[in-house]
Amino acid sequence: MINRLVFENLRHRKLRTCLTALSIGFQVTMILTIVGLSRGMLQDSANRARGVGADIWIKSPDASIMSLSSGTMDQRLLDYYARQPHVTHVAGSLVALIGGVSTVSGIDYDQFTALSGPFHFIEGGPFRGPNDALIDTWYAEQNKTHVGGSVKMLNREWRVCGIVQQGKLSRLFVPLATLQDATNNHGKVTQAVLKLDDHRNTKAVIAALRTEQPDYKIFSIEEFLSQFAPENLPMLRAFINVITGLSIIVGFLVVSLTMYTTVLERTREIGILKALGAAPFDIMGMLARETLVLALAGWIAGILLTFGANWAINHFVRASLQSVITPDWWPRACAIALVASLLGAIYPGLRAARQDAIEALSYE
């Protein structure tokens, strides 16, 4: 019976119910989208790293996994790596940040393709000049760029010489020497990738390299890919926690305001229920059930909105941002929505429960 009353009350104020559920939904979407973006971008980075086809990945001691730091190593180390037993190919790349989390990779074309295999060109072909750039299909799509067009980055105009299938190392490639010059990193690379004669030799080669270069970050491709997880990025985890905290505050405020308005508006009805013998606990219980329904409706709305946000991100800006749906976070988002909403309903609920029945019945 109380459920029917709760349902009818929510139905009675359809617009307010929808707006409240939507507000909670945005709170849920905010969390799920941030998590989806984190995972999507890490997954995309991992896929592109896997796409290189290397067996071993080496970074300088002060470099970050995500290639966003300026940690570099001497380019001459590439020759040293090439001389190691079982190593068949070596390629170095210099990574430069060009805005947001977008990067460009400087590569020695022949060296890189010898290790990774040829690029799959959709349009155009390899570098023909020092200021040529290769872009991948996603970047071309998002920026509506074609071969012969230009890309502006690092205060230079680069001519697009080819569009390649996405999925290999980077979205933008320029000649290594030019990028070294543009970023004042002469003779430096950010990372080295090694191809072995047999993948089964990976452990042995890594063990040998670690003995010689204990400070360097030397990973098998499996180890390297496993690093692309939010758990391994404390900053990202902190960021997600901050967003979750903000979402709880927003949800709390929205529900608090809604339920406070509801209690004021229903003062007389609360008086009626009290006259019928409803205890303060019953009144609070009724408001708590309304809040639960709003939170659950908001949670569902939030998941649907997340699908929309996910589609929009992957459709319109997938070269810069990648998002995935994260169903494993749905229960957590539900718990967050419930906690925030129930916290928001406490004060209005207490106010309603303490409402004097006579005053409530005479409320106009």
Partner: protein, 225 residues
Amino acid sequence: MAEPIIRIRDLRKIYRLGDVDVPALRGVSLDVPKGDFLAIAGPSGSGKSTLFHILGGLTQPTSGTVVVDGEDLAQLGDTGRTRLRRNKVGFVFQRYNLLPTLTALGNIEIARYISGRKGPLENGFLELLKLLKIDQRLDHKPRALSGGEQQRVAIARALVNHPAILLADEPTGNLDTENALAVLDVLRDLNQRLGQTILMITHNPEAAAYAHRIAHMRDGRILEN
């Protein structure tokens, strides 16, 4: 006379407004036997509503004794008064006070639910709905009912838990003459057929005339009954 179902002795209620004490009841004593239909009449400010609220367990007296169906209200805390409202008292208000989001049946059922009763409505009560002429209007929400119908739904709601007393506060105050007479007829009928004890507060002499007895109040005292 049968054992009184309501016994009031030297009942006083003082409201404090700012620094001023305002006495609303100044020593009311009254016995209401079971099955009585008593009208309490008097001008505004005479203390009728305060007496109504105390008898209904909506507020506590300042001093005195009020026993309703064996329970001394002066000794009851919030929980006890809530239980009293649930099981022993049925209210009928001037403004009907139906929950606007529920149907007529929903309004009746919620009172039953709150009192902890379960299962379908008893046959006797279904007969009562016919007597009240609302049995065909149960699926309608209050806004689709006339004032008279709403008040009859409120009477049904007040009686669904078989209360010891039915308290009616100006039950015809918002009704036209025809509907007012219909509601008064229903109250008298309920009293006569079911032996329902009714206390009706009114300042309308014609309405008061429907009761067995009339207690006149003025300045917080009962003048005569």
